[in-house]
């Protein structure tokens, strides 16, 4: 109950945030055609689900007088001229803004950053480039990276607390946070790991399964907070997580696993077809993991943002009522999706580990029959 209530507050704040921004943009539209375009839901949504070099919460006012409420983040650039570190406040300045129209008519919004060293960077779509070209790697602590750090601190705080419970309440019933997380840990152990990997091998995969489950779940929830970053809906993050599962599966694979791929139990003539399929399958599995998490979380964010965009698109309070109701429902659904996707990722990872360490030959035939 408290959780649902909390969501409403969260949503209200979220909405407030969007509202200000929407107003800011629509007012420009009403005032006349200066240099700002009309409210563009697509642009707003993309801005919200994409990464940024600052952690922006709200904008009050407009144009030159606008007050941006945002958390400045460090920009770390490694170029062929060396390491360059400065704050994002150096970037998002009004005087740095540049607009120009491309040949195909689409307008481009950039920030041009002149450094004391004489190097000039151009930030377009949150990507830094050196003016005039040159090698550049962006190690910036972006909004997503900052959110990642926050989630890690939160995870460490929570789970060190939980682990402490096993020392102080050793042999006794769990208490507090320990009591809340213990059933979840037991669920992952008994219903995910033991079931899919088996009694014999499950233990060595437990730390990884627990880590990804709670990492994904916590970050999904953090992403639902107002101003929260869309970390688990970012392809780089899901790519890394899926790669971990792939690497662990590949390292753990025993002779039956590889035998199943390179010498499937079918007539050798069929190997010509089956072996390439099995090899493709190796990569499709983690690829599907990557896309599933990314798409589910991003889609949820887009849904909520779209519903709220309707208000500013139609500029009618009646739409607002309906949109808010739908957005509340969506947010509740997203809370469920947050844990569901963490569960699915963990479950599928454990199934891949299970197939890598499976030993009985007759079970492999059984498995084959399922294909």
């Amino acid at each position: 109950m408290l959780f649902v209530l909390n969501t409403n507050v969260v949503l209200a704040q979220h909405e407030g945030h969007d509202h200000k921004e929407g107003e800011h943009k629509t007012e420009h539209h009403a005032e006349g055609e200066h240099h700002k375009e009309a409210f563009d839901p697509g642009k707003m949504i993309m801005h919200h689900i994409a990464d940024a070099h600052e952690w922006h919460f709200a904008t009050i006012g407009e144009g030159k007088n606008a007050t941006h409420i945002s958390l400045p983040l460090p920009v770390i650039l490694y170029t062929d001229k060396g390491l360059d570190i400065f704050f994002s406040t150096e970037v998002y300045k009004h005087e740095n803004e540049g607009h120009y129209k491309k040949a195909d008519g689409t307008s481009v919004h950039t920030f041009n950053v002149k450094r004391p060293s004489g190097v000039e960077y151009v930030l377009q779509d949150e990507k830094f480039n050196i003016k005039g070209g040159g090698f550049i790697l962006d190690f910036s602590i972006t909004k997503n990276v900052a959110s990642l750090f926050v989630s890690v601190i939160l995870l460490l705080y929570v789970f060190f607390n939980v682990a402490k419970g096993y020392k102080t309440n050793a042999g006794k019933a769990p208490k507090g946070m320990q009591a809340f997380f213990e059933p979840i840990v037991e669920f992952i152990r008994d219903d995910i790991a033991k079931k899919n990997i088996g009694e014999k091998h499950y233990a060595k995969f437990m730390p990884y399964l627990l880590t990804i489950f709670f990492f994904i779940w916590f970050n999904n929830l953090l992403g639902l907070l107002p101003g929260g970053a869309n970390l688990t809906g970012n392809i780089a993050v899901t790519l890394m997580l899926a790669t971990c599962t792939f690497v662990i599966t590949t390292i753990s694979g025993n002779k039956y696993y590889w035998g199943h791929i390179f010498a499937p139990p079918v007539p050798p003539l069929l190997w010509i077809i089956l072996i390439p399929i099995e090899i493709v399958g190796l990569f499709v599995k983690p690829f599907s993991l990557m896309i599933r998490l990314f798409a589910n979380i991003t889609a949820g964010h887009i849904m909520i943002l779209s519903l709220l965009s309707l208000i500013f698109y139609f500029q009618a309070w009646q739409v607002g009522i309906v949109s808010v109701l739908f957005a509340v429902a969506m947010n509740c659904l997203e809370l469920f999706v947050a844990i569901l996707q963490a569960y699915v990722f963990t479950l599928l990872s454990s199934m891949y580990f299970g197939s890598a360490v499976e030993e009985h030959h007759h079970e492999e035939h059984h498995h084959e029959a399922h294909h």
Binding site: D138, F139, G171, E186, L210, T211, V237, L239, M240
Partner: protein, 164 residues
């Protein structure tokens, strides 16, 4: 498209952070949690199996007690039965012995009575004989005091002799 192109920076930080998180959590969190859970489960299962053992022991003891009780009961019944039998036998025996004794005593008494009776009769007979003689003497004395009587007597005696 921007959305599906992984950013190098984020990938870099995510990799480092996630690996650090994984290592730290594995070592300092998951290990004590899993150990704690396993230890607690072991304690519980041990306690349960001990309880089961105790229950079985209890059952066994109860069974033993029942068996002992049954045996004792059977023993008691047997003893009672034997005692009853012995008592009956004893009683029968005593009865028979008493009967014999009584019969013997009766027999003895009868015999004694008989012999006493005989004695008494004999004595009475002797008494009677002597009394008779006395009476006869008195009578004879009285009879024979007269002549006539003496003659009479002699003649009677003679007559008797003749008959014989």
């Amino acid at each position: 498209m921007n959305l599906v192109t992984p950013d190098f920076g984020l990938l870099f930080w995510q990799t480092i952070t996630f690996i650090v998180l994984f290592v730290v959590l594995s070592k300092f969190v998951w290990k004590p949690i899993m150990d704690g859970l396993n230890a607690r489960e072991k304690t519980i299962s041990d306690a349960l199996s001990q309880a089961e053992k105790a229950r079985q022991e209890m059952q066994r003891l109860t069974n033993d007690n029942q068996k002992l009780l049954d045996e004792a009961r059977a023993e008691r019944d047997k003893i009672l039965k034997t005692a009853q039998k012995t008592a009956d036998e004893l009683r029968e025996d005593a009865k028979a012995k008493t009967n014999i004794e009584v019969n013997k005593m009766l027999e003895d008494a009868r015999k004694l009575i008989d012999s006493e009776k005989k004695n008494a009769i004999d004595q009475i007979k002797a008494q009677i004989a002597s009394l008779s003689i006395d009476v006869a003497e008195i009578i004879l004395k009285k009879e024979l005091s007269q002549k006539e009587s003496q003659k009479q007597l002699v003649s009677d005696l003679v007559r008797d002799l003749k008959i014989n």
